[in-house]
Amino acid sequence: MLVLRIAFFGVFVSAAVWLVSGSHRITTRKVQGFPLLVMLTILAWGGILVVQFNWQLLGARNIDFMRFMRIHNSRPSSLVRRGSILDCNGTVLARDDPQPGNPWNRRYPMGMAAAHVVGYFDAQFGMTGMERAGDEVLSGIGGTTREELARIGRNLMSANQAEGGDLLLTIDARLQRKAYDLMQGRKGAVVVMRADDGTVKVLLSMPAFDPCRPGEAQYDTANAPLLNRPLQGLYPPGSTFKIVMASLAVSQRLAPVFDCPGGGFRAARDARPIRDSEYYIRQREGRTWRGFGRIGLRSGFVHSSNVYFAQLGLACPADAFNEIVRQLHLNERVTLYESATGRMATSAATVPVVTTADRKTRAQLAIGQGRMVVTPLHVALWTSMVAGGGVLHPPLLVRPETLPPGERIITRAAAANVRGLMREAVQHGTGRAADIPQLAVCGKTGTAQAPGGADHAWFTCFASGAEPPLVVTVLVERGGYGARGALPIARALLEEALRLGIIRVPGGAGP
């Protein structure tokens, strides 16, 4: 067969060359020809060949073209053997599994449990998640350096199948799986990240979808399973925002004592009173709430008093509030991974810029309500700021060779102070059910009112007694009280992390 092919090619080339060479000689006598037409013919064909060269031999330089072929070109010869996606322990999250008739088939061993962060690569529906953001690495395309172009050229000359690179995520598949199991039957999000370097261990969105059949999830508008809730879901943060307010107050050296009456607090004459949740609980039980009385920051935080924090919000200078909102990236998209082919980033949370005169807004924002929505990752970020001693590390899904530096938001002492408040909230306050004594869990519940149904349940926490500092943020949509809806899941995840050895109690007893 090969001999036949070579024979054909040889005969073809020699016939064509013979035909072409000599064909320009026809004139025996000087006749005025059409030099202009000859020139135009040669120019036109030359131009066409240049364009053809540009596609046929140098097409790899066009990233749109490469992307098209990755998805829609079924030729085995030009199909790149796509790299795998692995977790931080080398567990496969996605790999090539060519099938007859479907050479671009991908297999996702984690299935629905990591569907959003891994994403899908589908002939019909394209790419999402890290399959899309990391496509540059996975398909080994793009690049403009001389070496990369040379590699593409060699692939062409040898007709070797090009190979993409593997993508190593910071995700821990075991913990991700555990989170998925715990969140069964719920809607919401789980973010687990290390506060000391920003690496993300769990990024879960529920309900999930089957990455092998993304089409089925396409039209489920009621549950929106394709929405990546930890990054794209926007929710009022509720009381979890009190972590930010406490950090602000502490670093402003503010620890005022306020009177917190049962009737609530009006920030302005025309404003509805802001009340503690106890007011509503007692009201339902047919009793009256007398209020916390005169309390300081410690009691206000531990009991999550809205009346206290509304007044604290007014005590904090407006520009200091705007500044910490900016430092915590609350009005921008936070990028977890980026390449030439896309990025994994959060939606932009929105926290309005406040003015000193706007007392109503300042009081509302201080309790995490009002015109403020954030993503679960944003909540995890400000928790990690406290857990990391006041330093905010940018979240990472792929560990780079050199870690980006963290930004200091508040002093180490201030962070320790807020950590103490969060510890007490777990020991004596709203988060008591999360107390795992050996881990010294610090946390904050949140019960966020959202229009159109029950409250969203939040719990964000970290284990201050363990290394490395691991932040766990759980959101359950319409989950009711944070302490009931979200806290047990966060607690179970911390226990699992300890059992798996992801966190350790230094010098102390193991699990």
Partner: protein, 432 residues
């Protein structure tokens, strides 16, 4: 017109004729291509599809007959090289159509029929029009015009639209016949008014108003009908050929400049009026805007080329069937995938040589009619090839013009072979 004596030279072939070995090598290339394809197919299905070799059989016989005409016709001094160039392209085209399974389906019958028909027509044109007899065509210039307009009217009334083109029952495409007919008309009309069309004012070609007006009115009839048929590719092709013929008759490069400007302006005007044309233009500018819809065909064609790379996947070993309608408009993409860019360069060189030979034959013809006929026929073949290949490699927007000799399409093949036969016949009547 008197029959011209063959002159002093008694050489059997033209003055740069084709060695017999080159005829054989051309046939051998096509035969080997079929052999490779057969071997590839036998590896999958152990039965020889004899019926699908009908086209190749006809090709072999036709080639033998043509060779015999050149070899044994005592007075034939026509240029055989241009015929062999065309046969080479045609043979590669038949092989790739065989490979794409054109002859396995019912749609291949027209092509199988067109191979002997076209080759017979070539020989007939050669024999009938050689020795200067082609000049008799000048008398039928008006008849050609009338037939062309009548065909356009028939298409307008009875035509069925299929994949953007218009066909008559039996999948005949009369627009292919219109191409040589209008060239003959133009050669007759312009050839008789050489002095008029050579007049210029301040460098701009400016024929007398009477002549210009008369020609414009005549030309507007078929062009208007073509616009009604919405065949913008044909419109572009015919007007480009017209511009080249105007240049050839007057030798005033101003026609090329004015013509290019005219094509550009009318292109803009058409784009403003026709959504269809604008869509094609948008796809050309950015096929990635709608990759799975409007950009699908061109991007699949480019993917086929990329897959072919330098050496190609090997004939029969690629996957050009993933390009929609590959065997007609996008046949060049299949060639690029299976034979690689080296073969593409050689095929382009053959098209270039065909054109060069055509221009020279025209320049050597006696009288303005022969010159214009030669230029017109050569331009018709060359511009079609340029428009087709240019569209496939995305150098220009797609025009829906087939690749002469290579694309699937019976009418197109017959028309192209007749044109080559006429060109060879003109070369026989040249001064020497």
């Amino acid at each position: 017109m008197s029959r011209r004596a063959s002159g002093k030279s008694k050489r059997r072939t033209g003055d740069s004729g084709t060695p017999d070995a080159l005829w054989l090598l051309t046939w051998l290339t096509v035969a080997l291509a079929h052999l490779v394809l057969l071997a590839t197919r036998l590896a999958n299905a152990p039965s020889i599809p004899w019926r699908q070799f009908q086209a190749f059989g006809c090709y072999t016989l036709g080639m033998l007959a043509t060779w015999m005409v050149f070899r044994f016709h005592k007075k034939m001094r026509a240029d055989s090289r241009i015929v062999v160039l065309a046969y080479f392209l045609m043979g590669i085209g038949l092989a790739i159509q065989f490979r794409m399974g054109v002859f396995a389906g019912s749609g291949g019958r027209g092509v199988v029929l067109a191979v002997p028909l076209g080759m017979a027509a070539l020989i007939a044109a050669l024999l009938l029009a050689s020795a200067g007899r082609y000049r008799r065509l000048v008398a039928v210039g008006w008849v050609c015009y009338g037939v062309a307009v009548a065909l356009l009217l028939v298409m307008l009334v009875f035509g069925r639209r299929y994949r953007g083109g218009i066909y008559l029952p039996g999948n005949l495409n009369p627009s292919e016949l219109i191409k040589p007919l209008l060239v003959i008309f133009l050669a007759a009309f312009l050839g008789g008014r050489r002095a008029d069309f050579s007049e210029t004012q301040i460098g701009i070609p400016m024929p007398p108003a009477r002549t210009l007006l008369r020609f414009a009115l005549l030309w507007a009839v078929p062009m208007g009908l073509i616009i009604l048929l919405r065949d913008l590719g044909l419109l572009l092709l015919l007007n480009t050929v017209l511009v080249i013929m105007l240049y050839a008759v007057s030798r005033k490069p101003g026609y090329l400049v004015v013509g290019s400007l005219g094509v550009l302006l009318s292109g803009l005007a058409v784009g403003a009026v026709s959504a269809h044309a604008r869509a094609r233009f948008d796809v050309w500018l950015n096929p990635f805007a709608d990759p799975t819809g409007k950009g699908w065909q061109i991007l699949q064609g480019l993917s086929a080329m990329y897959a072919g790379g330098l050496w190609g996947a090997g004939i029969g070993a690629g996957a050009p069937q993933s390009v929609p309608i590959v065997s007609s408009d996008f046949i060049y993409a299949a060639l690029a995938e299976e034979l690689g860019i080296i073969a593409c360069v050689l095929l382009v060189l053959i098209f270039v040589m065909l054109a060069l030979r055509g221009w020279t034959i025209a320049a050597q013809a006696r009288g303005p009619f022969g010159l214009l006929l030669g230029v017109g026929l050569t331009a018709m073949i060359t511009v079609q090839a340029l428009l087709n290949v240019g569209g496939v490699v995305k150098a220009i927007p797609m025009t829906g013009i087939p690749l002469p000799f290579v694309s699937q399409g019976g009418s197109s093949l017959v028309a192209a072979l007749v044109m080559v036969g006429l060109l060879a016949a003109i070369s026989d009547g040249r001064r020497g």
